[in-house]
Amino acid sequence: MKLCEFIRPATLAQARASLRKLGPKGMPLAGGTALHFMPGKTPVSAVDLTGLALSYIRQKGNFFEIGAATPLSDIQRYRSPRWAMHEICRRISTHQIRNVSTIGGNICRVFPWADLPVVLLAMNARMVIYSGKAKEMGADEYFSSQPARLFRNGDLLTAVKIPVLKAQHGFGSVKATRNAAAFSMVTIAALLELKDGRIAAARVAAGSAIPFPKRLRSVEAALLGKEPSSETFRAAAALAGTDAKWCKQEGMSAEYVAGLAEVSIVDALERAAEFARGRTA
């Protein structure tokens, strides 16, 4: 994408005003890595969001709040007893990209291979959007279609709120790739809540092998009330085809991708159950 101007607003209000004025000729920029690959012959004005103090991670009440301009490497390195976001962030792209690419950039315009939307769907995250004032939106609504729709009028994503996992909660994610830095073939994330040795709540999401990340609601329903065993997980994963139409990819048939997705779902659920048991113990 060609840039014809580089604007550095001092406040969120200024950034929003610039983007509103520019319309489709304006482009918010944080890490900016994706801009280099976006098509478009018409030059646009970049509105730099990195000077707006949007790079931070802090725990506030029942949420971890991550500033939208926080680089993935900061999320990867952050540690807290009930923190699970580092697991997927260390698997995204390369060290140099993680040092620049931001959580906001990853989820304001969702590419098919993006991992973070999958994780945020499973985590039931909340997105904070600035539209003159701050408003929150749950992950299900936010990722119901391309989130770029929410920012066409200059509104800005300012933070992502991740619920702090409780003692009986477990989270697991799996990213299947050809090599360490490759795009995902299948990404699965699962959040389980165990109560009295059974699954009381479940959120399972998938991405990369489908056109847009989504929750696997048939899989979730099949888990409820069951014991968190391998048999339960395999039976639930077998229903994933009801929720998602797996797409063939380079060198892989749709049947192969479906098999890979099922195995990945079972792995993610096993990890989530282990996590939950560890917390319960």
Binding site: R8, Q96, I97, A181
Partner: protein
């Protein structure tokens, strides 16, 4: 639409400088135009790592940054490292291990290794490999580069102990 010219100021290898640029000029292009040609153009799309520089202590791809993004930052290139007569430890070990064949990837490898050594303590193999996962080498198969890096890390880890034991004798 006309592309504006603009200027960007940042510290390059410890020197504060201001450069004329364009909003869409890549940091890599600016650096090479200004004579910092040790930073290599490889893939130009953030895959190979030949253009790796250190910005505010972090390894980044200069090909995936607009020059304007460096405003007010501290940028270090391979030119800030050792010289032919006085190579840095990582450069010495790369040569000793026979890890430099065509040499095109080496500036990027050195900058990633430097970011690793300046950021982390008690560096495990896992952490070292994480820092190096964005640098490709098509000559060596990585083994010799890995040997050189591990020797450099071991040297650095032994260094404070040597100093401490010297201090102890006094």
């Amino acid at each position: 639409m006309k592309t504006n010219t603009c200027s960007v100021s940042f510290s390059i290898n410890g020197e504060k400088k201001t450069f004329a640029t364009r909003p869409d000029e890549k940091l890599l292009d600016l650096l090479r135009r200004e004579g910092y040609k040790g930073t290599k153009y490889g893939c130009g799309q953030g895959t190979c790592g030949a253009c790796t520089v250190i910005m505010d202590g972090r390894a980044v791809y200069a090909c995936l940054l607009y020059a304007m993004q460096a405003e007010g930052r501290k940028v270090r290139t391979i030119e800030s490292m050792g010289t032919y007569d006085k190579p840095a430890p990582i450069q010495q070990e790369l040569v000793a291990a026979g890890a430099v064949q065509c040499g095109y990837c080496i500036p990027g490898i050195i900058m990633s290794a430097t970011a690793l050594m300046e950021t982390e303590k008690d560096i495990s193999d896992e952490v070292a490999k994480e820092y190096m996962d964005g640098n490709l080498c098509r000559c060596t198969g990585y083994e010799k580069i890995w040997v050189a890096l591990r020797r450099t890390l071991d040297r650095a880890a032994a260094e404070p102990k040597k100093k401490a034991s010297k201090g102890g004798k006094k």
